[in-house]
C-alpha cells in the first residue's frame, strides 16, 4: 500500500470568520504523486497549500502529514518543526514575498541556517543548488535587481536547497514570460524523478498534463472533480462551470459573430528526423 504524505479530512478554513475559503475539503496525497490543484481565483487553492505547509490551521477538520497530525501545537515542538520544514517546501506565487534577504546567496542559505545545519555544509549545499538552477552568477546580487524569471529561479533554489520530499508550488507560471514558464515546467518534470511529491496550484491548463499525474478541480472551497489530466481536460462542462475555460467570441468573414469554449493547450506536433 502506498503511504500517504498528506491526509486532509473535512477541512474548513475561514478568513476573518467571514470569507470561507475551504468548506469541508477532503483529499489524500500519496508519496511520489504529482498533483495539480485546478481552480479559478478564490477557489481555495492557495489556502490549501498554506494549510499543507503548516502556515494556516483549519477551523475544523484535520490534516495529517507523514502520519502525524499537523497542528499548531505539534509545530511548537522543535524536533517535529525542524523535520517538517526540512521535508515540506512551499514556493509562493509572488517571489518578492519569498526573497527577503539582502543577496541571492543569503536567500538560499536562509533555510539551512534556520535549521541549524553546519556552516560548511550550508556553503557547499548553497553553491550546489545555485549551480543546479544555473544562477551562480547572481549570488551577490540583490533580489530587487533580478528579472521575474530570475526571481522565480532564486525562489525555487531557496527551498530546493533543503532537498524537500514534498514541493508545494503556488501558481508557478504566473506573470512569467514564455521562456521562464518553460524553465519552471522543465524543472518540475526533471526534478521530481518519481521519488518526490509535487502539489501544484494553478489555473494554467497549458502545463497540467506535463506536471501532474492526477488533478483536483476546486470550486468555492471544495474539490468538485478528480481524475487524470486527460479526464479533467477532456471534460469541457466541468472546466467551464469551474471558470477554467471561457467563451471565445470572434467574427468570421462577412461579420457573423461566433462563440465557442476556449482554452490554451500546447499544440501537438511531430519531430522531423
Amino acid at each position: 500500500m502506498t503511504e500517504n504524505v498528506f491526509d486532509v479530512q473535512n477541512v474548513v478554513y475561514r478568513y476573518n470568520t467571514e470569507v470561507t475559503a475551504l468548506r469541508g475539503l477532503s483529499l489524500q496525497v500519496a508519496r511520489g504523486e504529482r498533483i495539480a490543484i485546478l481552480g479559478a481565483n478564490g477557489s481555495g487553492k492557495s489556502t490549501l497549500l498554506r494549510l499543507l505547509d503548516g502556515l494556516y490551521f483549519p477551523e475544523s477538520g484535520s490534516i495529517t502529514a507523514f502520519g502525524e497530525p499537523l497542528t499548531e501545537e505539534r509545530l511548537q515542538d522543535d524536533t517535529f518543526a525542524f523535520a517538517f520544514r526540512r521535508r515540506v517546501a512551499l514556493v509562493f506565487q509572488n517571489p518578492d514575498v519569498q526573497l527577503f534577504s539582502p543577496t541571492v546567496f543569503d536567500e538560499v542559505a536562509f533555510g539551512p541556517l534556520q535549521l541549524r545545519w553546519p556552516k560548511d555544509d550550508i556553503r557547499r549545499k548553497v553553491n550546489e543548488t545555485l549551480d543546479l538552477l544555473e544562477i551562480t552568477h547572481l549570488k551577490d546580487r540583490s533580489p530587487h535587481r533580478l528579472s521575474g524569471g530570475e526571481k522565480k529561479r532564486v525562489a525555487l533554489a531557496s527551498v530546493l536547497v533543503l532537498d524537500p520530499e514534498v514541493l508545494l508550488m503556488d501558481e508557478p507560471t504566473a506573470a512569467l514570460d514564455p521562456k521562464s514558464q518553460s524553465m519552471v515546467v522543465d524543472f518540475l518534470i526533471g526534478w521530481s524523478g518519481g521519488a518526490k511529491t509535487v502539489i501544484t496550484a494553478t489555473h494554467d491548463l497549458d502545463i497540467v498534463s506535463e506536471i501532474a499525474d492526477r488533478c483536483h478541480v476546486f470550486r468555492q472551497g471544495l474539490s468538485v472533480a478528480e481524475g487524470t489530466p486527460d479526464q479533467v481536460l477532456g471534460n469541457q462542462e466541468l472546466l467551464e462551470s469551474s471558470n477554467l475555460i471561457h467563451a471565445h467570441r470572434h467574427a468570421h468573414a462577412g461579420g457573423e459573430m461566433h462563440a465557442h469554449a476556449h482554452f490554451h493547450l500546447r499544440h501537438e506536433h511531430t519531430h522531423a528526423d
Binding site: R85, A89, L90, Q98, P102, F110, L113, Q114, R145
Partner: protein, 289 residues
C-alpha cells in the same frame, strides 16, 4: 478604425496651467531618484578599486578610526592631511571627485557654512578685517573655528561616503556585526533596505497609473484626498506583504531567532590595510593632540 473629431467629444482643458506635482508625488519622484543613486552606488561598489577589494569589516573599522581621529584633532594641518588621505583613497578606488563634490562637499559646505558663518564675526579675538557698511569684525579666532568645523565635517563626510560608495550596502550592514550590533538589528535593516525598493516601485506605479487617467489639474483638496487614499492603499499592501514575508520565513524554518552566515574572510592584504588605517589614525591622533 477612425476616431471622429466630433464637436461633442470632450475637449482638453483650455487653461494652459501646468499640473503642479503634489507633495507626495514630488516625494515619490525624489525617492525614485534616490533609488537610482543607490543603484549607481552599487555599481561603484563592484568597481575594481583599492577600497572595493578590502574586507568590509576593515573598511568599517579603518574609516571609522580615521573619522574619530579627524573629530579629535586640534591641529588644522592634521585634519587637512586626513582630507588628503580621503582624496587619495577616492582616487585609488575610482570614485570620481565630481561624485564626492555633488554628494558631500557642496552640501556639507552649505550646511556647515551656515552654522560657521556667525562664528567668524562673533568670536572675540584679533580683528583681521571689518565689513564695509556693517562694520562687523572678522577675527582670526572666528576664521580658525569656522575652518576647523568645516574641515572636520568635510573630511568625516568624505570618509563616510567612501565607505558607502565602495561597499555594497548589504556588506556594510553585515560588517556592523564587528561593532557588536545585534544580529536581529542587522537583519531588520537588511530587510528594510530590500523592501523599500519594492514599496517605492509600488508607490511609483500607483502614481503613474493615476496620472495616466487624469486630464487637467486637480484642486488642492482633491489632491490631498487622492494622496491620502493612495497612502492608505500602500499601507494596506505593506501589511499584507509583511504578513506573507513572515509566513515565507516560517515556511523555511524561522522560529523567532535569526541565524546568518558570515562569509567574510580576512586576507593578508586586509590585515595590512587594517594596520595601515589604525597606524594613520594613531599618528593623526598623536600629532593632532
Amino acid at each position: 478604425m477612425t476616431i471622429s473629431n466630433s464637436t461633442t467629444a470632450p475637449r482638453p482643458p483650455t487653461s494652459p496651467r501646468k499640473h503642479r506635482a503634489s507633495f507626495v508625488e514630488r516625494t515619490v519622484a525624489e525617492l525614485s531618484h534616490a533609488m537610482e543613486q543607490a543603484l549607481y552606488a552599487e555599481e561603484l561598489a563592484h568597481a575594481n578599486g583599492l577600497l572595493q577589494q578590502l574586507d568590509p569589516r576593515v573598511k568599517v573599522v579603518g574609516l571609522l578610526a580615521l573619522i574619530i581621529a579627524a573629530a579629535l584633532a586640534r591641529n588644522l594641518a592634521v585634519i587637512l592631511a586626513l582630507f588628503v588621505v580621503a582624496l587619495v583613497l577616492a582616487l585609488l578606488s575610482r570614485v570620481p571627485f565630481r561624485t564626492l563634490a555633488t554628494r558631500v562637499w557642496l552640501g556639507a559646505l552649505l550646511f556647515t557654512g551656515t552654522i560657521a558663518l556667525p562664528a567668524i564675526f562673533i568670536t572675540p579675538g584679533q580683528v583681521l578685517y571689518r565689513l564695509p557698511l556693517f562694520g562687523w569684525p572678522i577675527t582670526m579666532q572666528g576664521l580658525s573655528s569656522a575652518a576647523y568645523l568645516i574641515s572636520r565635517v568635510e573630511t568625516s563626510a568624505t570618509l563616510a561616503l567612501l565607505l558607502i560608495l565602495c561597499t555594497p550596502w548589504t556588506h556594510v550592514l553585515k560588517a556592523l556585526r564587528v561593532l557588536r550590533v545585534p544580529v536581529v538589528f542587522v537583519v531588520i535593516l537588511g530587510m528594510t533596505f530590500r523592501y523599500i525598493f519594492l514599496l517605492l516601485q509600488t508607490a511609483r506605479d500607483m502614481f503613474e497609473s493615476r496620472q495616466s487617467r487624469m486630464v487637467g489639474a486637480l484642486d488642492s483638496a482633491e489632491r490631498r484626498r487622492v494622496a491620502s487614499a493612495s497612502v492608505g492603499v500602500l499601507l494596506s499592501k505593506t501589511l499584507n506583504l509583511s504578513s506573507d514575508v513572515y509566513m515565507a520565513m516560517q515556511s523555511r524554518g524561522f522560529r523567532g531567532e535569526v541565524y546568518t552566515l558570515d562569509e567574510f574572510q580576512m586576507q593578508p592584504r586586509d590585515w595590512a590595510a587594517l594596520a595601515g588605517f589604525l597606524a594613520l589614525a594613531g599618528l593623526a591622533f598623536w600629532l593632532g593632540r
